[in-house]
Every structure is written in C-alpha cells, then in structure tokens.
C-alpha cells in the first residue's frame, strides 16, 4: 500500500490543476473537464481519508459526489451544446452577455 500522504498530495495537485484550468482555459469543454477533475480530486481525498481512518464514511460520500457529477454532466453538456448551436463557439469568454 502506498503512503496515503502521497495520495493526498496527488489529490491536491489534481485539484489545483482543475481549478487553474477552470480559471485559465477559454474552451468551455476543457473548463468543464477541469471541473470534473476537481470533483475527482475531492473523491480521491475522501477515499484516502476513509482508508486512513478505517471507516466507510468517505467512500459513501464519494458515491454522492459521483451522482452529483453525473447529473452535472447532463445539464452542463446540454448548456454547452446549446451555446455552441446558437453562437458557433465554445469559448466561455464569448458568452459574456450577463452584464449591464
């Protein structure tokens, strides 16, 4: 068994990559995948914590995260598809009408 601290480090690195991706990438699909990356980093941290404490709480919680992620993918992809159909772009910077 690998050292759980290394796994937590990995989860942290993955989360940071995801967060930076959301903030820096313009492509909506990539940003979306980065969100998924952050969710999975959180899952990894939960499962690791569960292993470290010898309980099942973290593993149960990660199932909930996966359910939420699945639902989010459905809604998110639908939004991206609709934006692409109407505006012929997937850049999040081009969808900037929500302002005065």
């Amino acid at each position: 068994m690998t050292n759980p601290e290394n796994v937590l480090m990995l989860a942290g690195v993955l989360f940071t990559i995801g967060a930076l991706g959301v903030m820096l990438r313009r492509n909506a699909l990539v940003a979306f995948m980065c969100v998924e990356l952050m969710l999975n980093a959180a899952n990894l941290a939960l499962v690791t914590g569960s292993t470290m404490n010898g309980g099942l709480d973290g593993q149960v919680a990660s199932f909930f995260v996966m359910v939420v992620a699945a639902a989010e993918v459905v809604v998110g992809l639908a939004i991206i598809m609709t934006i692409y159909r109407t505006r012929r772009t997937t850049s999040v910077d081009d969808a900037n009408l929500l302002k005065l």
Binding site: M23, V92, L98, L100
Partner: protein
C-alpha cells in the same frame, strides 16, 4: 342655605317631565323630514315646522306651569334617558336637567322661536328654498334646546355644536352670494376656536372628576386645586367668547348678518349668542372658586359692551347696528354673570328681556327691508314711520326698551346690572354707565335715520307695510318688550335662586341714586343722538371723516385686520415655511440619499463583467480567503 345642597337637589322626572324629550325630538324629526321629503313638501312644509316649534313651546309652557305649582325644593328635575356610551370607568348618559334656569331658556327659545317661525312664513314667502330654511330653523331649535336642557357638559357640547352647524347653514343660506358663504365660513371657523376651549374644559372635568355631569362637577370644584379651577373657568370663558361673540372672538357676528333677517333675530340676537352667558351662569360654581376667572369674565363683558356700542355708533347697515348692539348687550350679561352671586339673576333677566326686544327690533328691521327692496343702508331710509305704522310702533317699543326708558323691560334689567357693577367696582360701573349712554345714542341715531327725518328713498322704491303674518309677531314681541321687565322684576331672583345660586336683592320702583344717574345718562345719549342726526339732513353717502373714533367704529374696531395680522398672516407664513422645509430640507435629504446610493450601485455594477472565468477567479479567491481565515482562527 348651603349652595351645594341646593345644586345637587333634583327630583326624578315623573308625569309631564318624563316626556320633556319630545321638546327636542319634535323639531329634530321635522327638520329631518323636511330635508328628506323633497319638493313634495315645498308647498306645506313650513307649516309643519311652525307646528313643531309651537308644540315644543306648549310642552315647555306646561312644564313651567307644573314647576310653578311645586315647592321650590321640587322644581329641579333630572332624568336620564339612556346611556350613550361607556369607556373604561367613564359612563356618558344622555340626560335632561329641567330646572329653574333651563326652563326659562326653553320658554325663550321655543316662544320667541315660534314667533320668528311665524314671521318667516311671510318673510320667506317668495324664496324657492323656503322648505330648507325652515328645516334648518327647526334643526337650530332642537340643538339649542339640547344645549340648555342637557344635564352634563358633553350633551351640552352636542347641542353647542348643533347650533354652530345650524348657524353656519343659515348665515350662508343665500349661498349664491359669495359674501354670505364667506360669512358662514368665518362664523364657523371662529366658533371652532371657542369650541377648542369647551373641549379643553370637558377634558379637564373628565380628568378631574371622571364625569361631566353638572352635579358631579359642581360638587367636585370646591375640592380641586385652585389652578385647575382657574384653568377650567378660563377654558369655559373661551368657549363662551366664541359662541357669544365676545372680545376677542367678536369679529364673526357682524358678518353673520348676511343671513336672512329672521335668522339674525333668532340665532344672532335672542338665543344662540346668549349660550355663552348660559354657560357661565350654569358653571357659576367654577367661577366662585376662581377670582381670576371671574375677573376675566367681568373684563371680557365690560370690554365687549363698550366695543359693541362703539361699533353700533358708526355703522350705516341697520342690521349691523343691531348686531353691534347685540354684542354690547351680551357684554352686559357677561359682566353681570362675572360679578358673582349678586349678578346671576340679573344676567338671565337681561338675557330674557334682551331676547324679546332685540328679536323685536331685528324682525322690525327685516320688515323695513321687506318694504325697501332688501336695502339695508339706513342712509336710504328716512320717514318710514308714516308708511309702516305697525313696524314703526313695535320698533319704537323695542327702542325705548333697549335704551332703558323707565318702566320698560330694559330699564329694569339693565339698571340692575349697572347698579351691581357699581357695587362691584366703580370703574366697571362707570363703563357700564357709559355703555348705557352710547346705547341710547346709537339707537336714537338709528331711529332718526330710519323712521324719522326726511325720506331719502332710492328711486323706484315704494315702502309698504308688511303682511299680517309678519306684523303679528312684532306686536307680541313689542308688548313683551314693554311689560316683561315689570312682570319678572320681583319674581326672577327668588325663582332662580336654587338653580343659579344668586342672592336675592331688594328691588323697588323708586330709583336709587345710581338709577337716576343712569336715566340722566340715557337722556344725554338721546339728546346727543338728536343733536347730530335729528336736526339737519342726513347725507346719502357717509361723509368722509377724520375722527379716529368714527373711523375705528366704521371699520368694526379693525377686528378683521387684527385677526389677519395676528392669526391669518402668521399661519400663511408658517404654511409657506413648512412647504419650503418639506421641499428643500426633507426632500433634499432623501433625494440626496437616493442619488448617493444610485452612484454607489453604478460603481458596484462594474464588478459584473459577464466573464465566467473572472467569476470563477473571484469564487476561488473567496474560498481561499475563507479557508485561510478558518485555519488561522483554528491555530490561534
């Protein structure tokens, strides 16, 4: 006899007295009927109105007869009709108190009221709103009877407001004339000032005694602190000043002459304006416990009797001369009421005789106007004695009564007041004496300008005597003007003693030195009147005068100008200042606040860029900051 014992001594209402409320109900119901009936009643409505007042008079006369038959102890009757409302520990009953004082008033109101109703049949014969006029007159009679028959100050106040309303409606009866409408409003507004005093008085009574019943108030006054007794007296006096047109609330009475002449006779001479005197006499216990309030009544009365007489000397409008005279005579009554137990009976005595002779003269003036195409300017009259025999002779009876010609009504009643005033204070007595002289002067002037001298009629005016329905009431009132004094002189003091708490004085036919002096002063007044107005021709227009006395009198003592300067203009200024404050300070503050927030929001709005990535950055930063704070807090 102990004053309080006599005051609270009333017996329950039985027999005729239990039906006394019909006196008020009959004219009230007829008034409502006439106002609701519409044109159906145009042809005969006024007869119903006359019948209602005559009915009330017959009840009053029966009650009076029954009271005469009883012993002095059993005359005052009190009956509670029903409970109006209860609030907390206070209960307000609608009750009547028929005692020696109120029955005299009821007789005067319904008696003179009946005569004036009959007279109005002739006077208002050609007015298309006659039905309405009679409805208002009946409303007035009902309200005035409520005022004098109430057994507590709250019901009295209901009547007080009722007569104010009727007065307003009748002063502005010729509503197509702006002057009449304005005069009605003026009377109404000035009366509100007095009503303010009345309300304060009633509040004071409720706070002090928990009731406004006469018996409770009279019993409680001796125990109340002196300062409150004084305040109560002053509040009541303010109310009396408003209703009775006493200085400083006198300015409305002359304008009130815009109303039809029977109204002037009934409301603004014989009855309503004397309500203030009734109030003071009814509240005599209050005044007996406050020297200051009592002195205030005397001063108000004395000032008004001189002011009214002064106005009477310089007006050319016959009704305004009589209105000034009314003010002056009510001043006498106030003076007598303020003198104390020595004067109460004389105040009421003069009130009754004045009710007769002044109603007589007002109706006479109405008869003259009737014959002169509604002209009221005495400079267009002259020599009417020959063409209007009845009017002239009845008016002459009123004239000798008011100046106090020996053995007429005014001679008895006014001389008593002058004499009592001299016993009270020599200065006040002299003022009353001067007032008597001036009264003789202006009434003589009126007689010379109206009935004697040469005719100065406007072209096309053919004076004629009024119909019988108008002259008959004049004859009755003229007879009363002559004999009422002698009838009541020896009787009224003992009659009123239980109700008014006065101390009867010996009266005799042989004049006292002061009485002789008064006769001399009156003779001098008549002679002066003859000297100025009886010898030569009277100019058609009032001659320009530089005499300050004349100018002040012609301008009604500058009462309107004074009110304008002291009350109206400051009120306007206050309104303008409030408006400016509201517009600039208050609105400015809130408008500025709103602009400030608007500007701030414009700045805050710029944070909304619409870029999803910048929102993500903000969220991340927020999470990081929150996390750092939590961790630091945890560590600390």
């Amino acid at each position: 006899m102990n004053l309080l014992e006599t005051l609270s001594h009333t017996v329950p209402a039985t027999g005729m007295f239990a039906n006394a409320w019909w006196m008020i109900a009959a004219p009230l119901l007829v008034a409502a009927f006439l106002l609701l009936a519409g044109r159906v009643a145009d042809a005969w409505g006024h007869f119903v109105a006359v019948a209602a007042v005559v009915f009330s008079f017959s009840i009053a006369a029966c009650l009076f007869g029954e009271m005469l038959g009883r012993g002095a102890e059993e005359r005052a009757v009190e009956s509670t009709l029903y409970t109006w409302f209860s609030v907390g520990t206070w209960t307000f009953d609608v009750g009547l108190q028929i005692d020696q004082l109120s029955i005299l008033f009821a007789m005067l109101i319904t008696g003179v009221g009946s005569l004036i109703h009959i007279y109005s049949i002739g006077y208002m014969a050609h007015d298309e709103r006659r039905r309405r006029f009679f409805a208002y007159l009946n409303l007035f009679v009902a309200a005035m009877l409520t005022l004098v028959l109430a057994n507590n100050y709250l019901i009295l106040f209901v009547g007080w407001e009722g007569v104010g309303l009727a007065s307003y409606l009748l002063i502005s009866f010729f509503q197509h004339k702006k002057s009449a409408a304005d005069a009605g409003v003026k009377a109404f507004v000035m009366n509100r000032v007095g009503d303010f005093g009345m309300l304060l008085a009633i509040f004071t009574m409720l706070a002090m005694f928990g009731s406004s019943k006469f018996s409770v108030v009279n019993a409680g006054v001796p125990e109340m602190p002196a300062i409150w007794a004084t305040l109560l007296g002053v509040f009541l006096l303010l109310g009396a000043c408003g209703k009775s047109a006493q200085v400083p609330l006198q300015a409305w009475l002359l304008d009130a002459m815009e109303g039809p002449t029977p109204v002037s006779a009934l409301i603004h001479a014989a009855t309503m304006v004397t309500a203030g005197v009734y109030l003071v006499v009814r509240s005599h216990v209050v005044y007996e416990h406050s020297m200051i309030a009592q002195t205030a009544v005397v001063v108000v009365g004395t000032v008004t009797l001189l002011a009214g007489a002064w106005i009477g000397t310089s007006q050319d409008d016959i009704k305004k001369v009589l209105a000034g005279s009314t003010m002056s005579q009510i001043g006498y009554m106030m003076l007598a009421a303020g003198i104390g137990p020595a004067g109460y009976a004389f105040a009421i005595f003069h009130l009754l005789t004045h009710g007769f002779f002044k109603a007589n003269m007002f109706l006479g003036a109405g008869s003259v106007m009737h014959g002169m195409h509604d002209d009221v300017n005495m400079r267009n009259y002259g020599a009417l004695a020959k063409v209007m025999r009845y009017t002239y002779w009845t008016f002459f009876c009123g004239y000798i009564a008011i100046i106090g010609f020996p053995l007429t009504a005014g001679y008895f009643s006014k001389d008593h007041i002058i004499e009592a005033a001299f016993h009270y204070n020599v200065v006040i007595g002299l003022c009353a004496l001067i007032g008597a002289g001036v009264t003789a002067f202006y009434m003589t002037r009126l007689m010379f300008m109206t009935f004697w001298g040469k005719q100065r009629w406007q072209p096309g005016v053919h004076p004629h005597e009024s119909p019988k329905v108008m002259t008959l009431p004049l004859v009755v009132l003229a007879a009363l003007s002559i004999v009422a004094g002698a009838l009541m002189n020896w009787w009224i003091q003992t009659w009123l003693e239980p109700a008014a708490g006065n101390h009867p004085h010996e009266v005799s036919l042989i004049p006292t030195p002061i009485g002789l002096l008064a006769i001399a002063v009156v003779a001098a007044g008549v002679a002066t009147g003859w000297y100025f107005f009886g010898r030569g021709d009277i100019p058609k227009v009032a001659p320009a005068s530089k005499n300050p006395f004349t100018l002040v009198g012609r301008n009604v003592l500058y009462g309107d100008q004074l009110n304008d300067a002291v009350i109206v203009q400051p009120t306007y200024a206050l309104a303008a200042a409030s408006d400016a404050t509201d517009r600039h300070a208050i609105d400015g503050l809130f408008d500025g606040l709103a602009h400030g927030f608007g500007g701030l929001s414009t700045q805050v709005r710029k944070l909304q860029t619409g870029y999803a990535r910048s929102y993500a950055l903000t969220m991340t930063a927020g999470v990081v900051v929150t996390a750092v704070v939590l961790i630091l807090a945890h560590l600390a």
